[in-house]
Amino acid sequence: MEDVKANRIKGKRFHMTSAWSTFFVWIVICAIMAVLSPYFLSVKNFLSIAQYSAITGALAVGMTIVIVGGGIDISVGSVVTLVGMVLAAIMPASGSVPLMIIAALAIGVACGLANGLLVTKLNIVPFVVTLGTMEIFKGLAFLTTRGVNTPFNNLDFAAIGRGYSFGQIPNSFIIMLCMIVVGAFLLKMTPFGKKIFAVGSNATASKLAGINIKKIKLSTYIICGICAAIAGLISTSQNSAGLTNSGDGAELNAIAGAVLGGASLAGGSGSMVGTLIGVLLLNTITNGLNLLGVSSYWQLVAQGAILVFAVIVDSFKHKS
């Protein structure tokens, strides 16, 4: 009995989670940048990082939920573009901001629903489904304006992505933080979240436990679609235009953020706080390298190397 007690205490010893190791890397990067650039350590700069993290962050929230549920969605970048093009196209006809938001969310739901139904009803690998819909959504986006950038003037709408609240806090960051909080609540506190983890870890067992795995998976894709639509809103608003390339490559950033934050592509693990740190890490790197005026070729090398470095650091926790 004594043994058991002793063991129990040992069993509780501190384990570094992925989120923590990413946090550690983030701090290290921040420290290095602070030494290299006098402009790095300022409130203003961190608010700038915050603002530009918003789009990736919003995408990563949805992506984390899908990944935890054992899926993946690489069509999100195209959803961002699609939202931008459609909003820009209807903006002249309707300047109303709420209507814009509703339209964007409707697009997000529709895209998420399409992905989700294909994945669940037809039982197709999510990677292939979203690879296909990525092309389809992008094609549809270009068809709306025949591949032409479409600007608009709508100051109310621009405030979503560009404005501030509480002094100098960017609205876009506030939106992202809200999404993180809601996402964390959903994953951690609700039965729905518990079910997402269960489905992602072992779909067969979850099905036999009476969890409607199709419904859960479908919901994760819809949520992801909505998050992508919000990212599209922020991006369109920041750009004050529907731009043909606004969502290019966004999916990889979102996945990288989620995975850096501890989500496993095998499903069943991941956390919102981790994702937040992962996204901040990615954006801090870009910001620091920009401040230093590093040429974009070296930036590619540095970003790639840091990404690999972060996963290496993370792997040490598995070894110890």
């Binding site: 650039s37 591949g147 731009l243 043909t244 390339n245 910001n287 401040l291 005026g293």
Partner: protein, 350 residues
């Protein structure tokens, strides 16, 4: 205003420069086919067919060229095949082959800067006339925007705006070049030989204050980050000039300037002259002051005006090089300039 559209010196200068360079390309390698007009003239059947390889259909500029090109062909009863090179040399090569295989009389492409020699080879082998649009294809005629002129005149206009705003001989503290390094030679011509020289012809821009930013894929978001981070790294800068390779960059830069409240400290000039610029010009308070319009709507018209008679055998003269004349648009004159330059009835400014 900073009108530069009719500035004679710069544009003539640069256009002379570019036609010279196109001529050199022509004469240096085409040995046997040196005489103007001595180009292949199609396969002899009655209908004319043009293969147009659009550089990138997801890019506004090129998509616009393609759209009006098709329209112009239709107006003239010419068959037109449009393919998408996807800004990718490998796809461009394949598309070139496909166009030659499809019995087109002419192959038009922008990808000469990437795979020019190969495009030239394929067309020669197939006996198809190639036209290097915006970028020369060796041994074949050149047509298109004159990037040096466009960049130069935009640079001049930007510098003039600076003089108007900050007085004679203003000290420029920072020049941010939002460039597309993937555009290689186009970027060099437009942003260095063009824009930077244009600015330097009026105000001083030492190398130390020039920050080159690569806005990959001309992404407005990326431009935003570069501008904001660069300005943050130069907090002492009072007079900032920002040059954009295309209007997408200008759009991003303008957003940041508004956010930072830097309207008094910064001026933006770009090359493109698209709706993004026009839309900003409508607002009197923007820092974005000028853009050199490349008139993608007019590409088809200007090209076919010269090309059609040659293909139809009405003339034996095909010049080695001809251009779309770029115009600079500013807040004050964009409407007038564009309506004057674009001949289509359905065209509406903005």
């Amino acid at each position: 205003g900073c009108s530069g559209s009719t500035e004679p010196a710069g544009s003539e200068d640069a256009s002379a420069q570019s036609s010279a360079s196109a001529e050199t390309v022509g004469s240096e390698s085409s040995g046997a086919a040196s005489a103007a007009g001595n180009y292949p003239r199609g396969n002899g059947d009655d209908t004319l067919k043009i293969g147009f390889a659009c550089m990138d259909m997801s890019n506004t500029f090129h998509a616009t060229v393609a759209k009006y090109f098709e329209q112009e062909c239709a107006n003239r009863g010419i068959e037109c095949m449009v393919l998408d090179d996807k800004f990718d040399g490998t796809t461009a090569t394949e598309n070139c082959q496909l166009i030659c295989d499809s019995d087109c009389d002419v192959y038009v492409s922008v990808m000469g800067f990437m795979v020019g020699d190969t495009l030239s080879d394929i067309c020669k082998e197939a006996g198809v006339l190639a036209i290097g649009m915006d970028q020369p294809i060796p041994d074949f005629p050149f047509f298109g925007a004159d990037n040096v002129t466009a960049g130069y005149s935009a640079g001049e206009a930007l510098a003039e705006a600076a003089i108007e705003k900050w007085g004679e001989n203003p000290t420029i503290d920072l020049y941010i070049g939002l460039e597309s390094l993937a555009g290689a030679e186009i970027n060099d011509a437009r942003m260095h030989e063009g824009m930077l020289e244009g600015i330097r012809s009026k105000v001083e821009v030492p190398d130390e204050i020039y920050v080159q930013c690569d806005v990959t894929n001309n992404d407005s978001q990326v431009a935003m980050r570069w501008v904001e981070d660069t300005i943050n790294a130069h907090p002492e800068a009072e007079h900032i000039l920002i040059g954009g390779f295309v209007d997408d960059s200008g759009q991003g830069a303008e957003a940041v300037i508004e956010k930072l409240g830097y309207q008094d400290k910064a001026l933006i000039g770009t090359v493109d002259g698209s709706t993004l610029a026009i839309n900003n010009f409508k607002n009197p308070d923007t820092a974005w002051v000028c853009s050199a319009a490349l008139l993608p709507e007019m590409y088809g018209y200007y090209m076919l005006e010269t090309l059609e008679p040659y293909l139809k055998g009405e003339t034996d003269e095909l010049p080695d090089s001809w251009n779309v004349p770029p115009v600079v648009i500013t807040k004050d004159d964009y409407e007038q300039v564009l309506t004057d330059s674009i001949i289509y009835d359905d065209y509406q400014v903005g």
